[in-house]
């Protein structure tokens, strides 16, 4: 078991590296295809089913600037896998270099408790929580743009902005009455 560390390697010139973690490997690929279209900076996308990452690629793997956990709300397994993977991240990542992306939140069959659990998880780690629509091209484009904005900051490509500063503004907060029974 090895921790993934944010500053263990030298950064590349004008490069941003993003790691997409999704246990079901559905949304990953389309998102990756859209992410590498970016022209202003070189975006390297690494895909993983879960953490820890295998040891054999350790040498060739660039420094990861942003880790994105994609959670499909319709599957409990997806959430559990993401939760289990969190252990293999260095605490330094949680200073603005991790974000959660939730898909299928609009699905009617999703139990509200699961969304609440994801929100609590994101809030306890002070990470931003993004919602994405994975079925439509527009949704993929939107998700890509939002990820790129965060990625550029996390990779240090935006002057006068740091990942910690951005995440202090965008981190997920849980409303105090989340444990109250809802009356809808």
């Amino acid at each position: 078991m090895s921790l993934l560390k944010p500053f263990s390697k030298l950064p590349g010139l004008c490069t941003a590296n993003i790691l997409l973690v999704e246990s079901e490997e559905q949304f990953q690929q389309s998102l990756a295809d859209a992410l590498v279209e970016e022209t202003a900076v070189t975006v390297n996308v690494r895909l993983a089913k879960s953490l820890p990452l295998p040891m054999e690629n350790e040498e060739s793997r660039p420094r990861i600037d942003l880790v994105v956990f994609i959670i499909n709300l319709t599957s409990e397994l997806s959430f559990q896998s993401a939760e289990a993977s969190l252990k293999y991240l260095d605490p330094g990542y949680f200073l603005g270099k991790v974000c959660f992306m939730v898909t299928n939140a609009r699905n009617a069959s999703v139990p509200t408790e699961r969304l609440d659990a994801v929100r609590k998880l994101a809030a306890s780690l002070n990470c931003p929580l993004l919602f994405a629509e994975d079925q439509t091209p527009d949704g993929v484009t939107n998700a890509t743009e939002r990820l790129l904005t965060i990625l550029k900051v996390a990779a240090g490509l935006v002057p006068m902005a740091t990942a910690l500063y951005l995440s202090n503004l965008t981190r997920c907060t849980v409303p105090p009455d989340i444990d109250q029974p809802s009356f809808d």
Binding site: F7, D90, P91, G92, N168
Partner: protein, 264 residues
């Protein structure tokens, strides 16, 4: 900054280019130094509470921002010009995007405004029409004599009452004339024999008028049980008359009970 240097270098003079390269190398050397420090430092750091960690990091960053002093990118004016130009162009393109976005928004708002104005106009017209209607109704109400409807109704009721009175009087007259009270006309019409026999039991005979009244009251007061028991106050010929002409009906099981025929 390094990126800008790399791209712009192609068109810069040799002196500027070499200066820029030197700067880049300096920066990169510093970066490597810091990187090594971080790696060394990482080993002795043990994972702490997330929130405390975050607070410390944020405080450190704040301190950093407070102490940092802005410094010139490079002293070479050529480099500055190039970098400034690039920055300006970037800013221009971004501002153009903002302009087009705002124009689109403005057009949309204008459209919405027109729609809303149209809607307002329609609503105003509707209000005017409704006000007209109210005015007209009030005028009509004012024109009419105060309680004309009430008066009309009262007059009609009065007329009906007079008519009913007349009908009742007529009926009374007919009954008095053609079916008089049994013991009034007995002395004049009946024979002496018969009079003697009937005298005792016919003392309190009632008129047809009263029989009818009894029947009618019974029907109105107790509709579920409209039968009236025949006793000795009913003169049998009158009962017979009522039954024969279908004004009254006998009870199916009890011969001594009659009720008024159900006239619709």
């Amino acid at each position: 900054m390094m990126a800008e240097g790399g791209q712009a270098a192609a068109e810069l003079s040799e002196a500027a280019q070499s200066e820029l390269m030197d700067q880049c190398e300096d920066q990169f050397a510093q970066l490597e130094k810091l990187q090594n420090e971080i790696i060394l430092f990482d080993f002795c750091e043990n994972p702490q509470d997330q929130a405390v960690n975050r607070l410390m990091a944020t405080e450190a960053e704040l301190k950093q921002w407070l102490t940092v002093e802005p410094k010139l990118l490079a002293s070479n004016s050529e480099v500055l010009l190039k970098a400034g130009k690039e920055e300006m162009l970037k800013l221009c393109s971004e501002l153009e995007m903002v302009v087009s976005c705002h124009e689109a928004k403005r057009d949309k708002l204008r459209e919405t405004k027109e729609l809303e104005q149209k809607w307002l106009e329609e609503k105003k017209q509707a209000l005017i029409a409704a006000n007209d209607h109210v005015d007209r109704l009030q005028m009509e109400k004012g024109k009419l004599p105060g309680h004309s409807v009430l008066h009309d109704t009262k007059a009609k009721i009065q007329k009906m009452k007079v008519y009913q009175e007349r009908l009742m009087e007529c009926l009374g007259d007919i009954l008095e004339k053609h079916v008089p009270c049994p013991h009034q006309n007995e002395p004049s019409t009946n024979k002496k024999k018969k009079k003697n026999i009937t005298q005792e039991l016919d003392e309190d005979l009632i008129s047809l008028n009263e029989i009818l009244e009894l029947l009618m009251n019974k029907v109105l007061n107790t509709p579920h049980d409209p039968y009236v028991t025949i006793d000795n106050t009913f003169w049998p010929p009158y009962v017979e008359l009522l039954l024969r002409y279908g004004i009254a009906v006998r009870h199916h099981e009890n011969n001594f009970k009659i009720r008024l025929e159900t006239f619709c």
